[in-house]
C-alpha cells in the first residue's frame, strides 16, 4: 500500500494535526495484510517537523516495524525530521 503524505497537507508541523492525521489514517491500515508494506511517499511535501512526525510516523513504526518504508525523503526538513526521530526512538526507518 502506498500513501502520499502530502494528502494530509503541504506543511505538516503541529502535534495536533499529526494526531488528527493518524486518527483519520489508522482505519486504512486494517486493509493491510500482515505481509504487506506501507510505503509513505513524501513527494511534494513542503515542510515537515518532528512534532507532526512523532504523532504520525512513530506509532506506524511501532506497529509495522520493517514493513514501514519511506520514499522521496530528500526535502531538507523531511530528511532532518526523520534523522531526529531516529535519534529519539533509537531505531532506524527503512528509507528507499
Amino acid at each position: 500500500m502506498k500513501v502520499l503524505v502530502q494528502k494530509f497537507g503541504d506543511i505538516l508541523t503541529s502535534r495536533q494535526s499529526g494526531r488528527e492525521a493518524y486518527a483519520a489514517f489508522r482505519p486504512t491500515l486494517n486493509g493491510l495484510s500482515k505481509y504487506d508494506e506501507l510505503v509513505l511517499d513524501f513527494e511534494g511535501l513542503e515542510v515537515l517537523s518532528p512534532s507532526w512526525a512523532d504523532e504520525f510516523l512513530t506509532p506506524l513504526l511501532q506497529d509495522l516495524g520493517e514493513r514501514l518504508v519511506l520514499v522521496h525523503t530528500k526535502n531538507a526538513s523531511v530528511k532532518l525530521t526523520i534523522e531526529t526521530l531516529e535519534g529519539i526512538l533509537k531505531r532506524p526507518f527503512i528509507i528507499q
Binding site: 506543511i11 508541523t13 502535534r15 513542503e46 515542510v47 512534532s51 512523532d54 511501532q62 526538513s77
Partner: protein, 243 residues
C-alpha cells in the same frame, strides 16, 4: 516648562523617522503604518510610542512585550491567539520564503524551525497560560528576520515536569537545546529544540533565544550554543531567526 509631546504632526513624524511626508501618507492610506490619530480636519498625528515601535524593530518590540509585567498592545497582525491562526500564518511564511530564489533549498528548514518553536509554545502552555495566551509571530523578508514569542511558563517550568532537579533558566536552556529528553512514553515532547538547533545549523541561519533571565545564541560560525545570563527577564520565550 513644556510637557513632552505625546503626538507629533505628520511633518514632525516624518523628520523623526527620516522619511518623506508622502511616504507616511502612503503608509497611512495602505494601512501598513496608519496614523495614531486623525483630527476632524483630516490631519494625521502620530504617537511617540507608535513611532518608537516603528524604529526599534520587531525583535526589540517583542522582547519588551515578553518582558513587561503587563503585556503591552502590539499590532493584531503580529498575534496568533490560537494554533490554527499560527498554522495559517506559517503557511504564508513558507510561500513568502519560497519567493526568494536564494532560499529555495533552505526554506523548508527555516519554516520547520519556526513551526517547531511556535507549536511548542501552544503544546507546553495549553491550559496553563499565566496571562496572555497565544504566540506573537511576525517576520520581515526585507530584513530577513522571523520573530516568535510567548508569555507562557517558559522552558525551566516546562522541563521541571520531567527534570525536577533543574535549578536555573540557563541549565534549562542547555538541556532543551542539547539533551534528548525521555518524557512520558509514548510521547517525546521536549525534543523540538534539538531539531531547531540542527535546522538552524543546516540552513546556515542564526537564532537568538531568550527565556527567563537566560539567553542563547546559535550562529553560522558555530554549532555549539552560547548560553549566558541575559539583561532581559522574559516571561515565556522569545526567538529571533535571522536568515
Amino acid at each position: 516648562m513644556t510637557a513632552k509631546k505625546e503626538f507629533l504632526s505628520i511633518g514632525e513624524a516624518a523628520r523623526y523617522l527620516g522619511l518623506s511626508i508622502m511616504t507616511l501618507r502612503r503608509w497611512h492610506k495602505s494601512g501598513s503604518f496608519p496614523a495614531s490619530f486623525v483630527s476632524p480636519g483630516q490631519r494625521l498625528y502620530y504617537s511617540m510610542s507608535d513611532l518608537q515601535r516603528k524604529t526599534k524593530g520587531l525583535a526589540q518590540s517583542t522582547l519588551d512585550w515578553a518582558g513587561a509585567f503587563d503585556a503591552q498592545n502590539l499590532p493584531d497582525e503580529w498575534y496568533c491567539p490560537t494554533s490554527d491562526v499560527f498554522k495559517a500564518r506559517l503557511e504564508r511564511l513558507v510561500y513568502d520564503l519560497l519567493t526568494l530564489p536564494a532560499l529555495q533549498d533552505r526554506a523548508s528548514l527555516i519554516a520547520s524551525a519556526a513551526g517547531e518553536i511556535g507549536n511548542n509554545s501552544f503544546d507546553h502552555n495549553l491550559g496553563n497560560w499565566p496571562d496572555v495566551s497565544g504566540v506573537l509571530f511576525v517576520y520581515d523578508l526585507n530584513k530577513r528576520v522571523i520573530v516568535l514569542a510567548d508569555r507562557g511558563v517558559g522552558i525551566l517550568a516546562t522541563l521541571r515536569r520531567v527534570r525536577p532537579e533543574l535549578a536555573t533558566h540557563e541549565e534549562a536552556l542547555r538541556v532543551a537545546f542539547t539533551e534528548i529528553i525521555t518524557g512520558r512514553a509514548p510521547e517525546h515532547r521536549g525534543n523540538g529544540l534539538k531539531y531547531v538547533r540542527r535546522a538552524i545549523a543546516e540552513s546556515m541561519t542564526s537564532l537568538q533565544f531568550w527565556t527567563g533571565n537566560a539567553g542563547l545564541i546559535l550562529n553560522k560560525e558555530s554549532s555549539e550554543p552560547q548560553i549566558t545570563t541575559s539583561e532581559y527577564s522574559i516571561r515565556g520565550c522569545v526567538a529571533v531567526i535571522e536568515f
